[in-house]
Symmetry: C2
Subunit: 381 residues, 2 copies
Amino acid sequence: MKKRYLLAPGPTPVPETVALEMAQPMLHHRTPQFSAIFAEAAEDAKYLFQTQQDVLILASTGTGGMEGCITNLFSPGDKVLVVNGGKFGERWGKISEAYGLKVVEIKVEWGTAVDPKAVEALLEKEKDIRGILVQASETSTTAAHPIEALSRLTRDRDDLLLVVDAITGLGVFNLPMDEWGIDALITGSQKALELPPGLALVGLSKKAMKFNEKSTCPRFYFDFKKEKKNLADKTSAYTPAVSLIIGLRAVLKSIKEEGLENVFARHNRLARATRAATQAMGLKMVAPDCPADSATGVFVPEGVDGGKLVKMIRDEFGVTLAGGQDQWKGKVLRIAHLGYVDTFDVVIAISALEMALKKMGAKVEFGRGVAAAQEVLMEGY
Amino acid sequence: MKKRYLLAPGPTPVPETVALEMAQPMLHHRTPQFSAIFAEAAEDAKYLFQTQQDVLILASTGTGGMEGCITNLFSPGDKVLVVNGGKFGERWGKISEAYGLKVVEIKVEWGTAVDPKAVEALLEKEKDIRGILVQASETSTTAAHPIEALSRLTRDRDDLLLVVDAITGLGVFNLPMDEWGIDALITGSQKALELPPGLALVGLSKKAMKFNEKSTCPRFYFDFKKEKKNLADKTSAYTPAVSLIIGLRAVLKSIKEEGLENVFARHNRLARATRAATQAMGLKMVAPDCPADSATGVFVPEGVDGGKLVKMIRDEFGVTLAGGQDQWKGKVLRIAHLGYVDTFDVVIAISALEMALKKMGAKVEFGRGVAAAQEVLMEGY
């Protein structure tokens, strides 16, 4: 018997009660019974997004939501500024190019955040930029970009959108869509929303919907105007992912009950505990100046193969963490603390890391990381 | 207490064991454990599709699979022949136009099948048609189109594809992809596959993949070449819908155990029983000459409001059937018999229909439809 624990930055653990609720008998999607569920989920999504605007619910993963923002808000030939500080920033560029947009990229060193001044300077220089495409939390590097600062550059301009991939950010830290004036805010079901993958949620400002009126990119499956119209009728344009939406309603209800501020505080406490623990263990953070509260990335110690380490923690200790991607493959370990996670998930991750490092021959003092985590975790009690 | 029964043409009932299997603890998608599940599902999908080629598994509803076929197999300006015999045939046209294809439409009267000779004549006339887009079973009219006959027009031509939306056809009646030479065959998870909505499956012939090499439509989320490459690594391009794929593996395993021929025979028996029952009740079939085995459509008796009938059967008797769409709204009733359905589901549907019609004041002899169904259903025993 090996008990398993999932602490990777998505998919995240699904609460048992929600998993079982999703296992209830299938409902037909064009019934008053399901419409009520759909409407409740869509309404509570506004609380999560901190918006009065509609939040669209799409049957796709987060990448589908990203593509939808490109094809529904822009036109071929439009110039967009892509903040590329990791794999997902890079993806913004690829999607934009696939649909014929002109991409101006700000390359950001992995593990660092974009400098809003650099963005401001570029906007000054290239007046025809129509959108800033950025991640709230760049999952591949565990770095958070300064969304509030970027929103100050866009919110008073009616010819420029701020489009934020918050797939590992929303529901983890504060991203008040309306207050900051974020124009498109995207998340996926399998992160802070504690659900299986298969849903993308997209919040859209009034300004974004004005861009939508003019957008000429070809689109069909991801059609924001059509979805918005259907949302008013408590449904979606195509068959909704019924079971996931039943789960979405349940999770959003529990997030509302916990309260967004408490949700953010919990994630922050777990994040700081993980950072304190890895620091106490002598591990260097990969994004020390701008760590997102969703996951903590550290370089593995010299002489340790990060790929083997992740594999050992998973296959021998039963704990699934994540390794590094692309240029960080084999060098980095990412410990997630987002979604349905609490105090002892951090204890599990850190103690497993200590034990696996010891087994791999690294110098480890048992309990040192755990104790440092406990010091922070105690704040919650 | 009101016990509920779902007999609409999708979503269809999910077997309880599969629903619970999907409720198991979340798995990370980049692990050997999940890769094995994904690979097994992809392999067994070939059995369902009766093909040696790859079957792609996409995180979207069936419409996403349809869009993927347009954007991955054709180019703007390409001419396609759309068989439009209902809402879903119409959808082929809309998607094609959204991506700049030239659409030549054969309008087919609702409830009838396309005449292969008409298709042949049109192909003779317009030599630059590059694809035939058709439904195996047009869900809105319960009519089946003659896919085998159409395949004879395409399979020996290397400049023409047969693209079949089999969302309510695959796993219901025989559609041997390789034997007939179907080039793209699409299904969704919430029909014969007995799963919640959220997955599209697409089988692609070698000829289709040659078309893919030349296709210039913009695309990103639905990218067949990228998916094919990832499939070889036992994964998908973006985060797979983990829980649905766990369900897919389970359902495909049970379909394989039952055997496709038996699956088809079961659907055919249930379909014939439903037809016999409605006929005995004096209800006129909407697609008498080409009924699909997935659902039976009948006109409601004169003087009965079909919308009210569907509502009464659902809200008072607890049985969810489907009404008519568009031009058939309020006039038609559709009783589905696809997926996780068996003998007594037909008995439920027919007896509920008898009782609801009686309650609405129609002339009904109790048990007449049920008895006619039983006569056919007994064949299975």
